[in-house]
């Protein structure tokens, strides 16, 4: 156990926690917008897988990481738009249709992977960009200022999302649509438009989340690459109380647990690795139980809206 106490190990775990929070952050920030508008998109996992594949495949074939990222954005946005159509226009049950989107993404990304590559390959992902001067600060420099562009982007997104949600008219519309769609509608806010935009944006972000895994953090693609991260991301939005700062805390907590768990496996601690892997799931359930007490859950979450309907 003395290993845990060395500063170098602690810093190492913290750095990898900060890095690994990236996919959670993109997915949860995107999902926060969708849920605030009243739509629970449970297809995040499937969209992440498709985004991860698209980014990896395009980056591998063209050698251009930015084109790969663009591909993930397009794929994610299209799938988000489809989810919006299903849940807003067709008013489908959101939980079940989300599982459909998940199964589709799981099968489709695997199918395309087998058809196009067949075996696991690697790409050189986005390189770390040390920020001049700041990176030289002891400890803090290596913790915060020596990451790749997608990691920086994820953290910049948090205050941006907060500003959009709380300081803009559109954010006000977003929250009103999620709390009381009928009232928002009577004030001239287009409920469907706000929901379409939010859910499509959420899909786009899930696409980037997938890309951050396949071309910025792990730099590989394989079947079921995300292995449940998308579902945890959906739960983290509840955990974070539908606030960008809350989901930042949740994402960091979970990524740090992931980092600890990787370290525990390498360090050969006398805990079975299966229990370490189990921890995030148990924690998520506990987090959900405590999240219920939050008062700011969008009142219309998962409820479809039809003008003049009940």
């Amino acid at each position: 156990m003395t290993d845990l106490l060395t500063p170098a190990v602690l810093v190492g775990i913290a750095i990898s926690g900060i890095r690994l929070a990236t996919p959670y952050l993109y997915a949860t920030i995107g999902e926060t917008f969708g849920q605030l508008s009243g739509v629970l998109n449970l297809g995040v996992e499937g969209i992440m897988l498709m985004g991860a594949f698209a980014a990896f495949y395009v980056a591998l074939t063209t050698g251009n990481l930015w084109l790969g990222l663009l591909a993930a954005i397009v794929v994610g946005a299209v799938m988000g738009l489809a989810m919006a159509f299903i849940s807003v226009t067709l008013q489908a049950e959101q939980g079940i249709s989300g599982i459909g989107v998940y199964l589709f993404g799981l099968g489709m990304s695997d199918l395309l992977f087998q058809k196009t590559m067949g075996s696991v390959e690697t790409v050189n992902g986005f390189p770390a960009i040390p920020i001049p001067f700041l990176v030289n600060i002891p400890v803090v420099g290596s913790l915060l200022f020596n990451h790749n562009v997608l990691v920086y982007g994820a953290y910049l997104l948090v205050p941006l999302a907060w500003i959009v949600i709380h300081k803009t008219t559109w954010g006000l519309k977003l929250r009103s649509v999620g709390q009381n769609p009928a009232a928002a509608d009577s004030l001239g806010v287009s409920v469907n438009m706000v929901r379409y935009v939010s859910v499509t944006f959420g899909g786009l972000m899930s696409g980037i989340a997938g890309a951050s895994l396949s071309i910025a953090l792990l730099n590989v693609f394989q079947q079921n690459l995300t292995s449940g991260m998308g579902f945890i991301a959906v739960a983290l939005v509840y955990f974070g109380g539908w606030s960008p700062w809350g989901v930042l805390g949740g994402s960091l907590l979970f990524s740090t647990i992931n980092a600890l768990q990787n370290w525990a496996q390498i360090a050969n601690l006398p805990i079975p690795p299966t229990f370490a892997v189990m921890m995030p799931y148990v924690l998520t359930i506990l987090a959900l139980v405590f999240a219920v007490r939050r008062v700011n859950q969008p009142a219309a979450l998962t409820k479809t809206y039809e003008r003049g309907g009940s």
């Binding site: 489908a92 459909g100 199918l111 299966t274 189990m278 139980v289």
Partner: protein
């Protein structure tokens, strides 16, 4: 555009179309599947023909289809109960895993017991373990309003790790430990625990049990007070509460029963088909995705336990036929997972037309709801 409007108007008045909507939706999913096959450079007709031949072409393949359909039917029947009670159970995978674990442990620890005692005991163990796995999300949802979709998904993750832990230590095959090969699997179960088979195929008594369970689920839902209350709670919890039904209790019960039936799916898979439990580290390695595909079958069967019977055969056939399709037209079996996803999306999304047609027919749900009001008034007075 006006023409289409008129066509839609006319279609909405056709009450008989109501029950056809899910089939049309699934058909649409297969049309998209055909387009995907064409894009992948395969002849869709050839691919689907290979799929059907692979599923029904010989006695053995037909038996395999039924064997694959068995867990789908158990899970699907449970999903019907859960969804009717307003509980969305995505935890079939985990519930199957713990059911299988419990049944396996029961069989391994009582190797001297005779079949007539051991088989019911294994089934009971699987049933109870699945029920326990359903109880956590069921109680959390019913009493604390914790989103059950997310908790059931998390329970899946916990179940898989529990299986990995047990199979890589406490119940690992002693031979694996002796030979130091450490493959995470149990020893073969005692033969007394095997479900009787129809030799030479892999068809076993499990399918008979599944059909009986599906019929019992139907009886429960439509012929008993408990089932009536479960459906009432799912349809309208407020009205049910006014009618004096303990909403939380019946909502939780729906989830617990769904878990129990998925647990049966897990244990029959072990004592009927595999005769030992092994893991590749994931849930699907053991379940074959039946926990998710059971949802597809239940939805396709219109959330009716008896409808789940033919639906399970269809989706079992897809899973079995996919291997043949992969050999003949070189399209990976993953296509079927994607197709199942599309079927779910299309069937759920087409509900809106089913509802609209039903609303025109003015028959939708009225009997049950009016009964509830009457009961509620009686209770209040």
């Amino acid at each position: 555009m006006k023409f289409f409007g008129q066509v839609q108007e006319w279609l909405l008045t056709q009450y008989w179309l109501r029950s056809l909507v899910p089939f049309l939706a699934a058909a649409a999913a297969f049309v998209i599947g055909a387009i995907m096959l064409a894009i992948l450079g395969a002849n869709p007709l050839e691919a689907y023909a290979a799929l059907i031949e692979g599923a029904f072409g010989s006695l053995n393949s037909f038996a395999d289809t039924i064997v694959k359909a068995t867990p789908l039917l158990f899970v699907g029947a449970g999903i019907c109960i859960a969804f009717r009670g307003g509980m969305i159970n995505i935890g079939g995978e985990g519930q199957m895993v713990v059911g299988a674990l419990a049944g396996t442990i029961a069989a391994l620890s009582l190797p001297t017991w005779p079949s007539w005692a051991l088989i019911p005991l294994c089934l009971m163990a699987g049933f109870l373990a699945g029920a326990v796995w359903g109880t956590v999300p069921g109680i959390l949802k019913a009493y604390l309003n914790v989103n059950e979709i997310l908790t059931t998904i998390m329970m899946n993750g916990i179940a898989v790790q529990l299986m990995n832990f047990l199979l890589s230590g406490p119940i690992m095959d002693p031979v694996q430990i002796q030979q130091r090969s450490f493959i995470p699997q149990t020893a073969q179960l005692p033969a007394a625990s095997f479900l009787p088979r129809l030799a030479p195929t892999r068809l076993n008594l499990g399918v008979g049990l599944a059909v009986v369970v599906a019929i019992l689920a139907w009886v429960l839902l439509w012929r008993t007070t408990w089932g009536y209350r479960i459906r009432a709670v799912g349809l309208n919890p407020q009205a049910s509460r006014r009618a004096g039904i303990r909403v939380e209790r019946y909502a939780a019960l729906a989830m617990i029963l769904a878990g129990a039936l998925a647990g049966l799916a897990g244990v029959t898979q072990v004592i009927g088909v595999n005769h030992r439990l092994f893991t590749d580290g994931s849930a699907t390695g053991f379940t074959g995705g039946a926990g998710f595909n059971g949802i597809v079958a239940a939805l396709f069967g219109q959330l009716h336990p008896l409808g789940s019977i033919p639906a399970s055969v269809i989706f079992g056939a897809l899973l079995v036929g996919a291997n043949k399709m992969q050999r003949v037209v070189q399209v990976p079996t993953a296509l079927i997972t994607a197709l199942n996803g599309l079927v779910v999306v299309f069937v759920v999304a087409s509900e809106i037309w089913r509802r609209r047609i039903a609303a025109r027919g003015e028959l939708a749900h009225t009997p049950l709801e009016s009964q509830l009001t009457i009961e509620g008034e009686a209770a209040e007075s």
